[in-house]
Assembly symmetry: C2
Homo-oligomer: 655 residues x 2
C-alpha cells in the first residue's frame, strides 16, 4: 500500500498528528493519571465541539430532512432481548489464554501476527526485500520480531492462503490452525490453551436481587426495533418511515488498538428505515440523488482478488443490480453527501460491498463507506438491507404485532392452515406461559401446520418447539388445539417491513475527518493545520487583539457579543504571544477565521479578517465582516467569494 | 399539602397527563413488549426533541456564555477511581431481604411505609379524619393497607419522631428500628433479614481477563476532575474556569418509582467551576445577576420545622452569609434564569439549602433547586460548594499535580518541615509502589511531619499509612528518608482550587417542565395542552391544509422548505381529521403555532397563523408569517406583539 498523503501531497506523519491532537485536547486517554485503560478515551473541548457539530449536521441532513422519528433508548438491556437478537450467542471473538503468564490473545490476530512474522523471516532468509505495509503495522498492538528462517515453498503458500481468509475462521478452525502451525505466545514461546469464545458485551446485573442479567447495548438498533409498533402509531400508520437514534454503545474488545478506531465505548448514530418488501423497495426521493457518482468496490471484484474501485452513478449501480434496490441506493448516496459535507476527501472514500460470508445470513445486501487513513481503509458507516429479520425474531419471541396492516383495495380469498387454541383449556394448562406458546403456534409455517395437522389426527397429540417454556418443547393434544385448512376473505394486507439500516461510527468518522483535513506549513518546524469546513470547525473565529492593552478590550468584548448574537462561536486570545504564534495555535485547532483588532480598529471600527488555509486577509467594517462570516459559516459563500468582494489587507503577517 | 394546580388553576390529574404523555410518545417504558424493566424508559420523538432543545439551551446559557470547557468522558469507570472518590464505600442504600419470598425492600422506605400505615390505622381507630398526602402516596410503589388499630400515645409520638428523621438512619440504626417495632414483609407478615448495604452502581468487568472491575459512572463529575490538569493547560493556566459535561449516568435503584423521577439510567449536565479559595470566592460577573429575586428555604427555617420560603435578591442572600459566597450565589441565580427560560413556573420553584447532616462533610454549602409537582417538591438541580475535596483525594492517591501554580508578586519565606527521600535507596526499596509512597509522604501535614521527625530521630525508623501498599502501612528508616525543618523562598503560590458544582438532572427537569406547562381546555372531554415556550417546543409549527386535496400540496411543500431554511421545524398534518382535531393533537404535543392552508391561500398566498394558547388567529402574507414565526421562536417577539401587528382572522375555529 502506498503511503497516505495529505490534500497538499505531504506524507501523513501520524506520530506528529497524534501528539498535536492530544496537546490540543481533541482527545486524551481516559483515567490517564490512574495509568489509563486501553480502549477508553475522553474528548476534550475541541473534540467535544467537533463531535457536537458532526451530530448536529447529521440530525439536519438525515433526521430533519426526512422527518425521521428520533428516539433515545436505554443502554442497559436485559439479556432476553439480546438472546433474541442473537448477540448473546454470536457477538463474540475467539481468545486464547497463556496458562502460565495469564496473557490473553485474540486468536485471529495472533495467527496473523505470527504467520506474517514467519513470512517476513522467510523473505529475509531468501535475501529478498521486505515491503512493510505501514498501515497494517500501525494497527498492531505488539510487534512480533521476525527471524530469518527459510520456509518451504509449499508452507509459504499455505500461510498466504490462511492469511487471506483470516476473518472467516471460527474457533475450532482457529484451534486447528494454531495446532498445525505450532503457534505460541510470541514473547515467551509458551503453549496456549485452545480458543474460547469471548462475548464482547459488557455484562451487568439490573436491580438488587441479581436475577436480571443485562448488558450494555452493543448497538442502538434493538431499542428502535422494540418500539416499532409505537412509532408506526405515532406516524399515523403511514409507511415508509424511519426511526433514528444517537447514543453510546459498548464493545468489550479483547485488545483495543488503533487509537480511536477500536474502542470500548463509542458514539453511534443509526437509522432504521422501514420499507414495504413488495414493489421492489422503491424510494420516492431517489430522483434527487440519482446522478451522484461514487467509487464502488463490489463483491465480484473483491472475489477476483482486486481492490480496484469503479466509479459510476448510484442510478446505474441500482439499475445493473449491483446495489440491491433503490432505497438502499438512496441511503448510500445520502451517506456520501453527508461525509463530503464534513470535509472527507472524496479521493479517499469508497463503498465496499460485503462478501456473502461477511453478511448475516438474512441480509439482502450490505455496503460499507470506507475511508483511507494512515491505518489503511477504515469502515466508518455501514448500510445494510437487513430484510425482515429483526422485527420477525422479536415478534416470534414476544407475540407483539410488529407488522403493518393496511386495507386491501380488493379483498382476496386465502386458503390456509389455521391453528386455533381452545380458550377453555389452553389458558389453565399453560398459565403465564400461554402467551409464549400462542406466539410460537402463530409463528408456525404453513408447511409445518399441514404436517402437524396430520400428526394431530393420527397421534392425537403433537409436540411443538417453544423456546423458554419447559424443556423447549410443549405437548399439545386435540383438546387444546385444532389445526384445519380454511378459507379466509382477507381485507387487510399484513406484512413485516424490511429494514434498511445506515449505521454511523461517529468516532471513526471523527478520526478520518481529522486526517483528511490535516496538512502542515513547511518551515523550520512543521506547523500543523486542520482545514475543517467552517460549518464543522469547533470554533469559527479567533479574535486577536494586537496586544493585551486595556484599550482593545471594549472592542473585543463588543465583537464577541455581536458574533454570539449572529450564532457564530468565537474565542479571544489576548495572551502576550506574537500574533503569528497565536494564529498557529488556532490553525492546530482548525479555527477557519481570525479577526485582528489593531489601532486602526479603535479609530474606525474596521478589522482584518484572516483565512486559515491561505493566510490571506481582507480589511472591512464590522458589519461587512460579521456578514461575511455568517455567510461562510452557513455555507452560502466561500473565502474566494469574500476575497473578491472585500479589499485585501496586505499589511505584513505578523510573526 | 395542597393539591397541585396548573397555571390556569385546574387540578393536575396525573393519570390523565401520564396517559397523554405515553400516547404522544414523550416517553415510554423500555422493553415493554418483553414485559418492561422498572426504572428504564425510552424517549420517543417529541420527548427526544424536547430533551435536545433543553440541552441546546443549557449549552448556550452556560457553556457558550461563559466559555466553559466541555468534555465528554467515558461512562465505564475502573473501580480504583470510584474507591478514591468514596463511591465504592458510600454510594449505597440499605436493603432487607425476605428469606422466604426472596422479595427485596429498601429498608428506609419499608419502615416509612409500615409506620405510616399504622399511624393511619390509629387515626381510623380513634375515629379521626385521615388526611391523605397525595404527593407522598403517589411516590409509593406498593400501598400497605392500614388496619384500624389504636396505638398508645407514646408509640404515636415515637413513630412520628422516627418518620421525621427517616432519611438520616444508617443500616444498624434501621436494623434496631425494624426489630423494635417488629416491622415485617407487609404482604406476607414474614420476618426479614437485617439490612445490608447495597451499592447503587452497576458493576461490570473491563477487558477479557475480568481482573479489572469497573462500574458505570454514577455522575459525570469524576471524569472532569481527572482531566483538571489538562484543562488548566488548555485554558493557558488562566483561573477561574469551568469544565462542563452532558451525558448519561446510572444508579441501580433498589425499587425505582415515581416514573421519570427515580430511574436507573438518566441524562445529567454538570459543571465543575474551579475557583481560588482565597479572596472570598468572588465572581467577576456577579454584578449582572445581583438583583435576581428568588425563593429561599434556608437551613435554620427547616430546623425550626417550617417550609416557609423567603424571597430576596441573591446579593442580599450572599451579603447576609446565608449563601456562602458570590460564586455559589452567581450560579444559583443563573440556574433560576435557565429554569425560567424553559417555562418552569416561578411560583413552583424554590431553592432549598442542605441541612448540615445532608451534606458531605467537606462541602461548604449546598442548595437544591426544587420544583413543585404532583409528586411533591422534586430536587432537579443541585448546586454545591465541594471545597477542594475532589481534586485533593485524586491528587493524594495518584500524585498527579491537580493544583494551580501562579507566580507571587512578592516572594515569601516559608519555614516548613520538608520530607526528602533518598534517591539511591528509595526506588530500589519500593519499586512500582514508589510513586504511591512518595505521594503519601507528600500529603503529610506539617504537624505530622514534625512528630515523625522526632520519632525518626529517636527510633531510627517511622511508620506511615499508605493505602494500597502492603498492609496499608510502610516502614521507613533514616537511610530512606530525611525530615527536617528548613526555610524556603517561595516564588510560586500553589493551591488546590475549590469546586462549585451545579449539577442538573435533565429527566427531572423535563418532567417538571411538562407538568408546569400542562393545562386543559374544558369541554365534553378535557383536551390537554402543553404550553411550552416556543424555543423549547419539540416542533414549532403545524401546517394544516384544509383537506388532503392535491391542490394544497405544492403550497404546503413550499412552506415546509421555506420554514426549514429559516431554521424553524414544522410538521404537516394532511390527514382526513377535522381541523379542530388536528390542532387538538398538536396542543398535546405542545406545538405553539399552526398555519392553515385554505383556498384563499391558493389565490393570494396568504395564510392564517394560530396561537396554541389563545387559539386566536391572524391572517397575513407568507413573508409576514415566516418573519413573525422567526421572531417568536427566537424570543424577540411574543404572540401579543404579533397580534397587534397583523390583522386578526375571525373565521370560525373549524371543529
Amino acid at each position: 500500500m502506498a503511503t497516505v498523503t495529505t490534500k497538499t501531497g505531504q506524507v501523513v506523519d501520524r506520530a506528529n498528528l497524534d501528539a498535536m491532537l492530544r496537546r490540543r485536547l481533541f482527545y486524551t486517554p481516559a483515567f490517564e493519571i490512574y495509568g489509563g485503560v486501553s480502549g477508553l478515551y475522553d474528548y476534550g473541548p475541541p473534540g467535544c465541539s467537533l463531535v457536537n457539530n458532526i451530530i448536529d449536521l447529521w440530525r439536519k441532513h438525515f433526521v430533519l430532512e426526512e422527518d425521521m422519528l428520533e428516539v433515545d433508548c436505554t443502554m442497559l438491556t436485559p439479556e432476553e432481548i439480546l438472546k433474541t437478537s442473537g448477540h448473546v450467542e454470536k457477538f463474540a471473538d475467539w481468545m486464547c489464554k497463556d496458562p502460565k503468564t495469564g496473557e490473553i490473545f485474540r486468536a485471529d490476530h495472533l495467527v496473523e501476527e505470527v504467520l506474517e512474522a514467519r513470512l517476513k523471516g522467510d523473505l529475509e532468509a531468501r535475501g529478498q526485500e521486505v515491503v512493510v505495509d505501514e498501515a497494517k503495522e500501525a494497527k498492531k498492538k505488539r510487534k512480533t520480531k521476525s527471524k530469518a528462517v527459510k520456509l518451504d515453498d509449499e508452507v509459504v503458500k499455505e500461510y498466504e492462503e490462511t492469511l487471506a481468509q483470516i476473518d472467516n475462521f471460527d474457533g475450532p478452525e482457529l484451534e486447528k490452525i494454531i495446532a498445525k502451525y505450532d503457534i505460541r505466545n510470541p514473547t515467551t514461546g509458551g503453549n496456549l490453551l485452545p480458543p474460547v469464545a469471548f462475548n464482547l458485551m459488557f455484562q451487568t446485573s439490573i436491580g438488587p436481587s441479581s436475577n436480571m442479567p443485562g448488558y450494555l447495548r452493543p448497538e442502538t438498533a434493538q431499542g428502535q426495533f422494540l418500539n416499532f409498533h409505537k412509532l408506526l402509531n405515532f406516524n399515523q400508520q403511514s409507511m415508509p418511515f424511519a426511526s433514528a437514534s444517537i447514543g453510546k454503545s459498548f464493545r468489550n474488545e479483547i485488545s483495543p488498538r488503533s487509537s480511536l478506531l477500536r474502542v470500548r465505548e463509542f458514539l453511534m448514530a443509526e437509522i432504521e428505515h422501514y420499507v414495504d418488501p413488495e414493489g421492489g423497495k422503491k424510494h420516492a426521493r431517489f430522483e434527487e440523488i440519482k446522478d451522484v457518482e461514487m467509487a464502488f468496490l463490489n463483491r465480484d471484484v473483491q472475489l477476483s482478488g482486486s481492490t480496484q474501485t469503479e466509479t459510476m452513478t448510484i442510478s446505474k449501480a441500482v439499475e445493473t443490480g449491483m446495489v440491491d434496490n433503490e432505497t438502499l441506493g438512496y441511503f448510500i448516496a445520502r451517506i456520501q453527501q453527508f461525509l463530503l459535507k464534513l470535509g472527507i476527501d472524496p479521493t479517499k472514500l469508497r463503498f465496499r460491498q460485503h462478501m456473502a460470508n461477511e453478511m448475516a445470513h438474512y441480509a439482502a445486501d450490505c455496503w460499507d463507506a470506507e475511508m483511507l487513513t494512515s491505518y489503511g481503509w477504515v469502515e466508518c458507516v455501514g448500510c445494510a438491507d437487513r430484510s425482515a429479520y429483526d422485527l420477525t425474531v422479536h415478534k416470534n419471541k414476544t407475540g407483539a404485532q410488529l407488522v403493518v396492516r393496511e386495507p386491501r383495495a380488493e379483498p382476496i380469498k386465502v386458503e390456509e392452515w389455521q391453528v386455533e387454541t381452545n380458550q377453555k383449556t389452553f389458558g389453565p394448562r399453560f398459565k403465564k406461559d400461554g402467551k409464549t406458546v400462542a406466539a410460537a403456534l402463530d409463528a408456525l409455517s404453513q408447511e409445518l401446520r399441514e404436517k402437524l395437522s396430520l400428526d394431530l389426527e393420527k397421534e392425537g397429540k403433537i409436540e411443538v418447539d417453544v423456546e423458554g417454556v419447559g424443556a423447549g418443547k410443549v405437548e399439545l393434544d386435540k383438546n387444546l388445539v385444532t389445526i384445519e385448512k380454511r378459507t379466509r376473505v382477507d381485507h387487510v394486507r399484513e406484512f413485516t417491513p424490511n429494514v434498511i439500516e445506515p449505521s454511523f461510527g461517529i468516532g471513526r468518522i471523527f478520526y478520518s475527518m481529522i486526517e483528511h483535513s490535516y496538512w502542515y506549513r513547511e518551515g523550520d518546524e512543521a506547523r500543523g493545520v486542520l482545514s475543517f469546513p467552517p460549518i464543522i470547525a469547533p470554533i469559527k473565529v479567533l479574535i486577536v487583539p494586537l496586544s493585551n492593552l486595556a484599550d482593545f478590550r471594549p472592542l473585543t468584548q463588543h465583537l464577541i457579543t455581536r458574533l454570539r448574537r449572529a450564532g457564530i462561536s468565537s474565542r479571544v486570545d489576548d495572551s502576550g504571544a506574537s500574533i503569528g504564534k497565536r494564529y498557529a495555535r488556532n490553525d492546530e485547532l482548525g479555527t477557519p477565521f481570525g479577526i485582528t483588532v489593531d489601532f486602526q480598529s479603535i479609530k474606525d471600527k474596521s478589522f482584518t479578517l484572516r483565512d486559515r488555509d491561505t493566510t490571506k486577509q481582507v480589511r472591512a467594517s464590522e458589519d461587512e465582516i460579521v456578514q461575511a462570516l455568517k455567510a461562510m459559516v452557513e455555507g452560502d459563500e466561500t473565502w474566494e467569494d469574500i476575497r473578491k468582494r472585500l479589499p485585501e489587507f496586505t499589511g505584513q503577517e505578523l510573526e
